[in-house]
Subunit: 468 residues, 3 copies
């Protein structure tokens, strides 16, 4: 048996003097409330407060970070039963496969999160392995049956103050509204407005999405003008339900406005199934511009997650669906494609635009320089393929020079895995403490200043950037 | 009150053993004379030797590093009175605003430079803050009135041996010539030939620039052949005035030659206001090639600062002019666009080409490989958005493998802020000492070799590269 | 005299605690057998087992790492006698030039390799210098005459278990076959199938290559179908001779399949000398796709070395030939250009595709994300301009997060310089020990796990990836 006992100093620097400083900095923020301004947990989980499913369904099957690395080692998605309905899966068998390949995660952030979760949330004290698989499964099953491991109990135990979900504009936000009116739940769960489905005329999802939005808003979306009205109306609805932000995911960040006439023409062509790819791109770029315009008007923070090729392996998509590990980073770019948007709204009072990337060359070349001039622009925390301690260190080193700390977003967990939230925030707090400690011992920052920065990064910064 | 006392070990590595080595390396070069082969101080400042204006006009309003970060935090340029004539500004009010936002600079190189300047040049012993703003302003005002804080006195005190300015070919270099003939000034101030205005037919500045150049050179610039003659004549004039180098700033580094006929045709089209963008680009690329040809002939070092989008925020440009913080890095490239130039001049005896970038991906992929083959090519010091200790470390780590130390340019301060010159060189010396010390303690370099490299980087290297 | 005594702790981390761990990790693998699955040593060297030529011909003239840096400092290739026939060169004169410029290599990996070779292979105890040049030359000459310094003796002494060469499909592999049948040689030398010459119709080398391949295979290569058959036949021949892998070098990694009809048409156009550049590119992209298809069929590992501009300085090429230091890195890309290949073969059982790059932005953005999903894809070790300790550290930091250790290729020396093989593997082992030690002291990995990883990286990993 190999003990599972995450070290209290993990991720803090090796040099003893630097580590001492880092310990003090980390100690100051380790227990701070969690502000999670962007993620993918379903509000219904907290509304229903049902016990989590079995360990495989909690830790493995829905988490593409985990499944993609197993897949890369030759474990097929059939073996992980991804193609099956959740209720038909053999959780114990999947869990055993995972435990057998536990070494695959050595050196990865996934291992850090899982170790922290298993040890600190579930009290597991042994590493997963072929030998320990069954015992661990049983232990976890036992825990999951306890009331203290229900979503709401964990929400409290994790110290989550705000949790943002991600939602379609046509969503009725029923779970959010119910939670707000539930006197037994004191947490704050807020929706985020994500209108990706409405961006690209000609895609199969577009026309049905327009129909759903018309239904939800009571506004005819058969015209471009109607779509804008409907979106505005739903943004107001999201704000009334506690939302403070929008999010948009696109491959390219082009934000060139079109005339209303041209937009209207493409909208109608889209409904008639006669839109070219160039027209669809122009339409999408215009909508990105309009989203900024709307944010200037209504104050919703605009998040931009650009530069991901989605669903690149068609055979896997067709058999196992989206979010199964084959989304891949693209060459990114913000400075040029966002130029029209920034020209018109970059200095608009109250406008907040948070830029994320999976292409780390953008940190020093585009995002920090933009955030270091435009009052509206903030450098989003390292995202997805860049959410490891090493990448966080590169991000801070690349961004701080031109943008300081005050123009960074604070940590974003961006996760579907509710139980990994504290581990993810903890990783970020440790990584930032390590970065700041190094500035202290090289006399670039006093320890007092570093303490102030560390505190602001987990509190004032996300509150201000996301208007929480 | 928070003390301002830059630590003697700042920027040196945290590990005690490495720090000891770094201290010795830094100690060896800390007091070496300053060679500044590229910058933007006006020679007239030293000729006239008048007292510097008030603290705001010295530290804040002309420094886009400072103003852009304040702007990014929501301090408007109106508040900083950038739109006003210098004599109408309320320096104390601007200074107070700056002090109130002193925390914005935490972790940035701007903070390092300002702390060093305030403490080591002006003897300030308290951090800027809302509370200390007025006292600091008064202290600085008092210093600035003293004779020891006039430009020439500071030039001596800073230990500047050579200071290069940046000048238009049509400039009469009156200040340079007067300084050379002034027996009371023993410093060396040399002009740098920067012909950017002449590159792009069709831009509003082009025809007036040609006229000014014709006036200055006495050569008709109404033809392309005339322009080349005039440029050659002015290069000789700059050389006679002590110049050793040229500089060119372009967005893309294309250097494809055109036939004289084609160039002549575009030149005339430019004067007639009938030049297309493609023609203007071809003309510019040809001139870049011709500049290299001229450098091969006359021996002037060719510097290339490529890859910056200038004046990207039009509303700010229109209201506050250029150099107000919205120049932004572009995706860079040297290997492909410079290919024709390097084919013809890359191995020409005596030709020196110094390549700078704000896209750090070029360090290991383009600049170091080029400098590691072509005798003419040198890797320019990290520039602008990359002039921090962290970026200097990345530069050395990325460039040294393929190009060693002997093909790097030595430090370039590239500043308009005269009083920041010693702080900038000091940062570089500390950062290089830190880098070298790490090579020593990991036994990649003996300490003796490291001492030799440290000395060469501040002395032999810039002298040789820039032919000082 | 300056002693040459490579430190036993070189490249291990400076921090004493981390160094202790690194020493133990390195100690575990320092003496492990060398598996060299990709390189450019000629099998004939081992078959003939003749003494190596003089020191200049061993260390300098054939090594473009060495000659390019000397060239960059102004030592002409005439001075290094690169243009001359090997037998007409004045080895001692060339050696003296090299020794005089020994400082050029300070801080570069070339210095590390040469120091290790000179000290540990040849027992030299003094640094090269103008003063020591002749004595060192004589000492090396004496060593080279000893039987213990013949290729086979060194092969044994270096502990090489497998050495892969790189060979044209038309090669008769006579040396390989003879070595396999030679009872006095117990080493394993295997060929690698590299069909670059057959990729691009219209290049001067293409038609003669087809003719040679027809001759070697006995299959008519006058048609596209014939070429595929001939390649398949030679792949089988290489496999029978011990080969386990292919390699392909291209500028761009496009792998879009063509119909057989279209391929056939371009093939014939190529033979008729009437192929356009676009057709040649399409043909090449199709062949890359077909190479993957063949690897799926026959199990040969597919290596891809993309993104190098070859022979960029035409005057040097014309006078001194290829491999003379002016190959330069290009902007790389794998995710998009390989998409069709990965769609069809990315999850094919047994298919192995090892991706190398000289553009390090690909590590975190493309290679690690691909290797972290596709069971077939492995992240090739840092290549060429990126084969230094600093770049190895960046590679590990960038790749491990998304791909772990199990999807990396293990070290590749990729060298023509036989005597540098142990130094290159030693550098990699030290660099990996340093990286792992840092994970241990920051509690991201237990020391036991790190030991396991260190061992796997030099043994199981290359065996598995390259099917050795």
């Amino acid at each position: 048996m190999t003990a599972l006992s995450p070290h209290p100093d993990r991720l803090l620097p090796a040099d003893p003097g630097t580590r001492d400083v880092a310990r003090r900095l980390y100690g100051e923020v380790a227990g701070a409330p969690i502000l999670s301004p962007h993620g993918h947990v379903d509000a219904r989980v907290l509304l229903d407060d049902e016990r989590f499913p079995d360990p495989a369904a909690l830790f493995i099957t829905p988490d593409h970070y985990v499944t993609r690395l197993l897949h890369a080692l030759g474990v097929t998605y059939e073996e992980l039963e991804l193609g099956k309905d959740a209720r038909e899966r053999d959780g114990r068998k999947i869990w055993r496969t995972f435990c057998r390949h536990w070494d695959a995660f050595l050196g990865t952030p996934v291992r850090f999160w899982l170790e922290s979760e298993l040890a600190e949330v579930f009290g597991i004290d042994e590493q997963p392995s072929e030998a320990s698989a069954d015992r661990l499964y049983d232990e976890l099953e036992a825990r999951l049956s306890e009331p203290g491991f229900r979503p709401r109990a964990l929400f409290d135990r994790f110290g989550i103050e705000v949790l943002a979900t991600t939602d379609d504009p046509a969503d009725d936000l029923a779970a959010h509204l119910a939670l707000r009116e539930d006197p037994t739940f004191r947490g704050r769960v807020v929706p985020t407005f994500r209108a990706d489905r409405y961006l690209t005329p000609g895609t199969p999802a577009w026309a049905p999405a327009l129909a759903a939005l018309a239904e939800a808003s009571g506004i005819d979306t058969g015209t471009y003008a109607g779509l804008l009205d409907a979106l505005r109306s739903r943004r107001a609805f999201f704000q009334a339900a506690g939302g403070t932000a929008t999010d948009t995911g696109v491959l390219a960040a082009d934000a060139t406005p079109l005339s209303d006439t041209a937009s209207e023409r493409i909208h109608l062509a889209g409904l008639a199934g006669e839109v070219s790819e160039a027209e669809a791109s122009a339409y999408r770029a215009n909508l990105l511009y309009r989203f900024a315009e709307m944010s200037v008007d209504d104050g919703l923070v605009m998040q931009l997650h650009a530069g991901v090729h989605r669903n690149t392996h068609r055979p896997t998509l067709e058999r196992f669906g989206p979010d199964t590990g084959h989304d891949l980073p693209a060459v990114g770019g913000y400075t040029q494609p966002l130029a029209p948007l920034l020209r018109d709204f970059g200095t608009a009072p109250g406008f907040h635009l948070v830029l994320f990337t999976v292409d780390e060359t953008l940190f020093s070349r585009e995002i920090a320089p933009l955030a270091g001039f435009y009052p509206s622009v903030f450098a989003g925390a390292p995202w997805w393929f860049l959410d490891s301690p090493a990448a966080i260190a590169r991000y801070r080193a690349a961004v701080t020079d031109s943008a300081g700390f005050a123009k960074t977003s604070g940590f974003i967990d961006d996760t579907r895995a509710f139980c990994s939230i504290p581990a993810r925030h903890d990783m970020s707090r440790r990584a930032d403490a390590a970065f700041l400690a190094n500035l202290v011992v090289t006399h670039q920052l006093t320890e007092d200043d570093a303490l102030g920065v560390a505190r602001r990064l987990v509190d004032e910064q996300p509150r201000r950037v996301f208007k929480l």
